[in-house]
Each structure stands twice: as C-alpha cells, then as structure tokens.
C-alpha cells in the first residue's frame, strides 16, 4: 500500500485539517466529533441539509457543503458510516428553525446511525426528515437484501434538494423533491482495479490484468460479476442497459447524464465514456439536457466509473441550474 498519508489511523483527521486549512473561509470543521459545517450556519428560516457517510468518497460529502447545497457533512472513518453524535451535532448546528433533512445513502450502517441521530434530534425538539438514496441498479431490491445502495444519485439529490431549501421551500417540500430525484435516478458502476483502505492495507478484491468488475458499489466491495475487459463502448453499454431498463427511461425523456470517476481514473477516460453514453442515449431517443463528468463520489484510488441517469422535469432542471457555491461544485456564484 502506497498512499500520501501519515498514520492510517489519522487519515480522516488529517484530511479534515486540510479541508479546514483550504476552505476555512466557507466551512467550520469540528474534530470531536467530526463535522464540516457551513461557516454561516444556521441560516435562519432555511431548511438545513445534513449528509454524511464513510470517508474515502471525496469530494462527497464535505466538498458539497456551501450555499445551494449541504449545510453540513459528517465524515465517518474510511468506508464506515459516521456515528449518531456527529449527526446530532451537525443537525443542531444547521437547524435554522425550519427543520433539518438528513440525506442518507442506503447502507445498513448509515441508515441505523442516522435513525438513532434523528431520534436524538427529535428528542431535542428539532424536526427531522430523511431522504434515503438507493439508486444502484446492480443490487436487487428485494426483501432478501439490504436493498439498493445509494450511489451516484446522492450527489444530484444533494444539489437539487439544496437548491429547493435555498429557494425557501418547507421541510416537507425539500424532502419531497429530494425523494423525487432519487426515484427518477438510476446508477451502475464498474471497476478496473480494487482500492485499498488505509486500515487494511490490502486490496478489496483481486482482479486479473484483463478483467473488470461490473456492478460495484463505492466501498471496494466486489461487484455482481466480473468479465474480460472490453472497449469503453462495450463497458458503457454494460452499464447503460440495466439503467435504461430499470426506471425505465423512454424515448423523448430529458435526462441529466452523470459520468463519475471512482477516484483513480483520469478525466480523459471519463470523457471517452461520456462520448459513449451520449451515443447510447441518442440511440434510445433520450435528450441529455444536463451533464456532469468528473470525480464526485469516489472509492479512494479505485479505477473505474459509474454512470447515473436522472430523468429531468422543469422543476428539477431549474433546481439543478440554481447557483451553488461549494468547494467541489460551483456555478452562478
């Protein structure tokens, strides 16, 4: 394992120190417990947005704290859900009197910890609603699994729900629009290489030099199956087909297409994948109205990508276009 770190146990704290040093003008960082909070929180009368999850997915979530997106993020240890006390602290810090939304990726750990935090916050008189993201078509959503994982769509939910909150919408309205994004979005990911968590020092799985793993999540878990590597066109097809069938997306739909890097894949490859996505979308009669290409929800240094399609309507498009001013996503400000 070769990494730009000090001690494996200090990775999250050291990175938070870097975030504090780089973005101290926009966010307050606390270390006990770990939180990243908008410097001007709480914004009075605005619904507060809190998300969080294991570290190692940067810029998710800390990079999305700022006007027009999250009010706070709770970073857990690498690939480990944060704890209820972090979430409670963040919830209290951003409560501007209009209630707080928790944006939670559907993993047992995240769900249980956020559940406890919401109970604690409610006990302190803060109204809390939860948006659960579960957009990963690689996972069967059935009684016999923990349900679909929350992956790429989480970024889009944070942006769009953030814009709704910014526009002065109520707790219920913000929650509703966030859930609508999750319901209209689908994601599928793949890996060329595994990743190595600092704590374990071992690759999360082994892949041959000519194999790819299809249907991975964002925690270095093995995927649904592996196969011989093919050209980018084939890989894009492999990811797009289940996405298109699942919602299903139909000819004439306006969509946002999001090609996300897993952290170790260079941008030039993401653009190659995007070109294939655009081709496939066009062949299915989809109109890509908005797009996002880059490393936004990652798995440490894993090489690979995920594709997310979100069906847009006028309201979602308007919220997507609204100004946002965070370290990792910024426009109109």
């Amino acid at each position: 394992m070769k990494k730009l770190i000090n001690e494996p146990d200090d990775v999250v704290a050291d990175a938070l120190r870097g975030i504090e040093a780089a973005h101290g003008d926009r966010v307050r960082v606390t270390f006990d417990p770990y939180t990243i909070v908008r410097v001007d929180a709480p914004v009075k009368g605005k619904v507060g947005l809190v998300s969080g999850g294991g570290s190692g997915h940067e810029p998710l979530h800390g990079g999305f704290v700022g006007p027009g997106m999250l009010d706070a993020a709770c970073p857990g240890e690498v690939f480990t859900s944060p704890t209820p006390d972090q979430m409670l602290e963040a919830t209290k810090a951003v409560d501007g009197g209009a209630g707080v939304v928790h944006i939670v990726k559907n993993y047992t750990g995240d769900v249980l910890n956020f559940e406890m935090a919401a109970e604690l916050a409610k006990a302190e008189g803060i109204e809390v609603d939860t948006i659960l993201t579960n957009d990963d078509v690689a996972v069967e959503d059935s009684l016999y699994t923990a349900g679909r994982r929350g992956v790429g769509v989480t970024v889009l939910v944070e942006k769009i729900a953030g814009a709704a909150a910014d526009a002065g919408k109520s707790l219920q309205e913000v929650t509703e629009v966030g859930r609508r994004v999750n319901a209209a979005g689908r994601t599928m990911g793949m890996a060329l290489t595994p990743c190595i968590t600092p704590a374990s020092g071992e690759p999360s799985f082994e892949l041959d030099e000519d194999e790819v793993e299809i249907g991975i999540g964002i925690h270095g878990e093995p995927g649904r199956f592996r196969e011989k590597i093919g050209p980018a066109s084939q890989i894009a097809e492999r990811l797009m087909t289940p996405i298109l069938e699942d919602l299903p997306f139909s000819s004439g739909d306006s969509v946002l297409a999001f090609v996300n890097g897993m952290g170790g894949t260079p941008l030039i490859e993401l653009y190659i994948v995007y070109a294939e996505v655009a081709k496939i979308a066009a062949a299915h009669g989809l109109k890509i109205e908005r797009n996002l290409v880059g490393n936004y929800i990652t798995s440490l240094e894993m090489q690979g990508c995920s594709i997310t399609l979100l069906r847009l309507d006028d309201e979602l498009t308007r919220y997507w276009d609204a100004p946002v001013n965070t370290p990792a996503l910024r426009w109109g400000a």
């Binding site: 859900s81 006390d85 750990g109 559940e115 923990a146 994982r149």
Partner: protein, 207 residues
C-alpha cells in the same frame, strides 16, 4: 461463581477489548471478503474507546459498566456494528439496572431482551447471515443452563456454532447481501465478533 458483579463485568469487557485487538486483522479479512473490510478496525476502535471511558470514571455496578460501553460504541464505531452492538449493550445495561449482583435467570432474561432490541433495530431474521445468528443460540443456551459457569460456556459454544453456521448462508442483511450468492462460503464477520464476545464472557465469569 454464581453471581455477576461489577468487577467480573469489567473483566469481561477488558477481555473482549483484548480479543478485538488481537483478532482485528482476522475480522478485517472476513469483512473484506463479503463486506468493506472495516469490521475489525471498527470493533477495535470502539472497544479501545470503551476502555478509556471505563477508566475515566468509577462505575457503580454492571449496569453502569454496560451503559458506558454502549455509549462508547455508539459514538465511536459507526457502520452497522456500532448501532447494533450499541443497542445490545444499552439494553443489557438497562435490563440490569439496580442490580449490584446478577444471577443466571436475570442475566438470561436481560440477554433475551437485548437480542430482541438488536433484531428490532436491524430487522435481521435468523439465517440472514448476521451477528443475530451467533446471538440467538448463545442466549438460548443461557436460558437452558442451570448455573452461570456452564451456562456461559454453553453460550460461547452456541455462538461459535452459530458463527460457523453462517458460512454456507447467503446473506440477506448488511453489505454482504449485495453479493447475493457470492456471499455463500464465507463466515460472517459480525457473528465472529459476537462469538468472541461470549468467549470473553465465559473466560471472565467462569474463572
């Protein structure tokens, strides 16, 4: 020994913490195969935190010890294991409140309540390939025992069998469930830490 008290409870927790430290890599390896590889780190971090908290303040009775452990785990473990083990210890501590010394029937009943609490939080059924598969046979063994010594030994054996029985199972809860059939053939990490929990208990109380 026929009663559990504050000191044996503390010894149990210390032994369990030592086990989590010793078997950290094993748990990581199990969790890497069908999860995300952090279970060993999580449990070890949590139990170290628990020891710190226990050292920081005098604990009045078993209940106080258990509640302190619960709060330490909830606020430092994260992941699935944090809330689940946190709930387990919190319920155990709550059920034993007011007892300076605890006898077998009281102890077994407290465990039953606690495991029900874990199931209520995590919604796992027996056979879902989770810590519940180690917890249930352990508690059943306690309930059927005639004294604490043999009961805790039987509980540890029950947990071990429950742990080994997870190997062929297809996971239906937690991260391993994403793997579907690929999860079969691997031992569940959470049931493994639960086995160490009862092994430590047997060692702490039956010496």
């Amino acid at each position: 020994m026929s009663l559990i008290n504050r000191d044996t409870t503390l010894r149990w927790i210390e032994l369990f913490a030592a086990q989590m430290d010793e078997h950290r890599q094993d748990l990581i390896r199990l969790d890497t195969a069908i999860g995300d590889g952090d279970h060993g780190t999580n449990m070890n971090r949590g139990m170290q935190k628990a020891l710190e908290k226990l050292q920081a303040a005098e604990q009045a009775d078993p209940s106080a010890v258990l509640k302190t452990v619960a709060m330490a785990l909830i606020s430092s473990v994260g992941g699935a294991a944090g809330p689940l083990y946190g709930t387990l210890f919190l319920q155990l501590g709550t059920a034993l409140a007011g007892h300076a010394e605890v006898d077998l029937p009281t102890y077994a009943a407290a465990w039953r309540t606690s495991v029900e609490g874990v199931q209520a939080r995590g919604k796992a059924e027996p056979g879902d390939k989770t810590m519940v598969d180690a917890l249930l046979p352990a508690v059943a063994a306690l309930e059927q025992a005639s004294d604490l010594n043999t009961g805790l030994r039987a509980a540890a054996d029950g947990a071990e069998q429950g742990m080994l029985a997870t190997i062929p199972l297809i996971a239906r809860k937690g991260r391993a469930s994403y793997l579907g059939e690929r999860s079969a053939g691997h031992q569940d990490p959470g049931s493994t830490s639960t086995y160490y929990l009862f092994e430590s208990a047997a060692a702490a109380f039956t010496s």
